[in-house]
């Protein structure tokens, strides 16, 4: 199985935004692969380029941004070179996306059935009746009770969690090979978040689809992902198996992220923080973009660090001073 073409292989992806103030290098040389049936977590703060990476894959980067370099190999086909028609036929059929805010992903003036049936008919020449059946089955699959009635409702008649289920059901309509989930549980209550996570995990196992889970919340990916990529300022600074990265973080940024998660064990002690904030993409620091906030930075950090695997094969880090002693 090792030589099988991965579902997705992103190679040196660069997506830049050409604004009036200058070029924002939102994604600047990102590479990762997603194998069949694998869940990959893409973790980072706001503005780290994780969402833009997702939108680049599905070909929906907003103006004035565009993919300027790199390959997005979806089952061997380079999506960065694909034309609009090809992308449209892949979107929703082979690659689907779930968005962050379920309150905003469904069109408020169209009924659920309209929005789901159009998604079916966008890729299959079927009658409205058949499309409705497909939509109904998808709602059942994500655990929505009385689906026939629900199909006739408008989005505002649903709760946030229900709407996200509808969005997930819509994404599942064509049994895609890859789902890109852009912080789909961030806007939800913890209990609902747990349900959705459980649901998605189950669906992944059942259907064998691959999943890219974009989030800023390490605790969410901890229980969900097989592998994890930590992004900072448009680059992947660390990636590897989920247990390697979380238990033995190499990059000071990953270490900081893990330290910022409140935990029962350290009750009463001050929560670790990463000082400062994410740099402006228009004005990135020289060398390693993290060095102004890094406790381990020195003169060597003014040079762009190379990716190394200092601790273990398959656990990569982009840092001159990785936390090796913990490994």
């Amino acid at each position: 199985m090792e030589d099988e073409t991965p579902t997705l292989a992103v190679e040196d992806l660069k997506t830049h935004f050409f604004t009036k103030l200058g070029v924002a290098e939102a994604v600047n040389g990102v590479s990762f692969t997603v194998k069949k049936g694998e869940v990959v977590g893409l973790v980072g703060e706001s503005g780290s380029g994780k969402s833009v990476t997702g939108f680049s894959i599905i070909g929906l980067v907003d103006h004035p941004g565009r993919v300027v370099e790199g390959k997005i190999l979806f089952k061997g086909e380079d999506l960065a070179q694909a034309d609009d028609d090809r992308m449209r036929s892949l979107r929703g059929r082979r690659i689907a996306m779930i968005f962050q805010d379920p309150m905003m992903t469904l069109n408020p003036v169209l009924r659920i059935d309209t929005q789901m049936i159009e998604a079916v008919q966008a890729h299959e020449q079927v009658s409205e009746k058949e499309a409705r059946e497909t939509a109904r089955d998808a709602l059942v699959q994500v655990g929505i009770p009385s689906p026939d009635e629900r199909l006739k409702s408008y989005p505002h008649q649903f709760s946030g969690g229900m709407r996200q289920r509808v969005a997930i059901a819509t994404a599942l309509l064509h049994k895609p090979d890859l789902i890109i989930a852009d912080e789909p549980t961030t806007a939800l209550d913890v209990t609902i978040q747990g349900q959705i996570l459980h649901e998605v995990q189950k669906l992944c196992r059942e259907t064998g689809m691959s999943l890219i889970w974009i989030t800023h919340d390490l605790s969410v990916v901890a229980g969900l992902a097989d592998r994890i990529c930590v992004m900072y300022a448009g680059q992947i600074v660390e990636r590897g198996e989920i247990s390697d990265v979380l238990d033995h973080p190499l990059h000071p940024y990953t270490n900081g992220l893990i330290g910022s998660v409140p935990s029962h064990n350290r009750r009463g002690q001050p929560l670790a923080q990463i000082p400062g904030m994410t740099p402006s993409l228009l004005n990135l620091p020289e060398g390693c973009a993290f060095h102004p906030r890094c406790p381990r930075a020195d003169g060597a950090c003014f040079v762009q660090p190379q990716v190394t695997e200092p601790a273990k094969l398959g656990h990569e880090v982009r840092c001159v001073h990785p936390h090796l002693e913990q490994a």
Binding site: I58, L60, D62, R88, S89, L90, R91, G92, R93, A96, M97, F99, Q100, D101, M104, T105, L106, N107, P108, V109, L110, R111, T114, Q115, E118, A119, A122, H123, Y154, H156, A167, T170
Partner: protein, 325 residues
């Protein structure tokens, strides 16, 4: 729904009553119609007789009471000049005004929405910018001047369209209309465009602003992520959302189009209500002025009600039983 409508109707009755007070009082203040109506050679006895005949010798509150009682019976008084019931006089002119108003509404919708959406989707393009510049002109040029320029250019210099008036009418669904013939269309074209200009600009700006707001919403991106064609994204997802403000504004504006067709009707000698009211004000024909204003108020109320109901059809989040007074 029915509770909502009943409440609205009760509110409307109050509005109409208050309006009748204002209109009646206002017209009373304008001036004494006797000076205009009576032959200057007439002697005092004739004048007194005329005043009594018109009921103008009674104190104003009695006149108002008399007017109110008659109005409830559907009689808004008779024109001093034509000696015909004022209501009938106005209703006879109404189809012409309605035809003009609907023609300009049609132009505003069928040109305004596509142009505005185009400008919203391509804000940087030359066409998009030109549309927006044009809409500023439509807003700011005074409509009587544009009307006169239209006549000068199309009727006088080019000689392709008539300068004014309305063509022979034909019967259509029980109404007298003129737009069914080429001659009728050529007559209505200039006044309709003239009357539409302001609203066309308004619709363009609303549609553009709406499109630019909606196009960046997540649900548009989600629709694209589903693989829905760009055509359907624009014509269903975007259009249905921007229709909500457009319908509201157009509905409200439609009343004012009818009410203020006065200028266009005067410039193009269009035989509608607007022309009638100008003449009536000239001659202080009180009953016609009062009847006209009452009809306009009534029309505004009906239009607003229709807009509210339409609004709830377009926007599922507004269901009328939820509306609290």
């Amino acid at each position: 729904m029915s509770v909502f409508i009943i409440r609205r109707l009760l509110q409307s009755v109050v509005v109409i009553w208050v309006m009748s007070l204002l209109v009646f009082g206002g017209v009373y203040l304008i001036g004494d119609p006797i000076d205009m109506l009576i032959n200057p050679e007439a002697d005092q006895e004739d004048i007194d007789a005329a005043i009594r005949a018109l009921g103008l010798d009674k104190p104003i509150h009695e006149q108002y009471w008399f007017f109110l009682i008659n109005a409830l019976k559907g009689d808004l008084g008779s024109s001093f000049i034509f000696n015909e019931p004022a209501l009938q006089l106005i209703l006879a002119r109404m189809p012409a005004t309605m035809e003009l108003a609907f023609a300009s509404l049609f132009i505003s919708i069928f040109f305004g929405i596509p142009l505005g959406m185009w400008a919203g989707l391509h804000p940087e393009s030359i066409a998009g910018r030109s549309i927006m510049t044009g809409s500023i002109l439509g807003f700011s040029l005074p409509s009587f001047w544009v009307g006169i320029m239209f006549i000068m250019f199309f009727a006088v210099i080019l000689g392709v369209l008539p300068s004014g008036g309305r063509a022979e009418t034909t019967e259509f669904l029980g109404m007298q209309v003129s737009f069914l013939s080429w001659d009728g269309l050529s007559h209505i074209l200039l006044p309709a465009v003239n009357l539409a200009l302001f609203k066309l600009s308004l619709v363009i700006r609303l549609s553009r602003a709406g499109t630019q707001e909606v196009i960046h919403q997540d649900y548009i991106k989600f629709a694209r992520a589903k693989g829905v064609s760009e055509k359907r994204v624009i014509l269903v997802h975007v259009l249905k959302n921007i229709l909500i403000p457009v319908v509201t504004i157009l509905g409200l504006e439609f009343g004012s189009v009818i009410a203020f067709a006065v200028v266009t009707e005067t410039v193009f000698a269009w035989p509608g209500m607007g022309k009638l009211i100008i003449e009536s004000i000239d001659q202080l024909d009180r009953p016609v002025i009062v009847a006209y204003l009452m009809i306009i108020v009534f029309m505004f109320i009906v239009i607003n009600l229709v807009v509210d109901i339409l609004y709830s059809v377009l926007d599922p989040r507004v269901r009328l039983q939820d509306v609290k007074a």
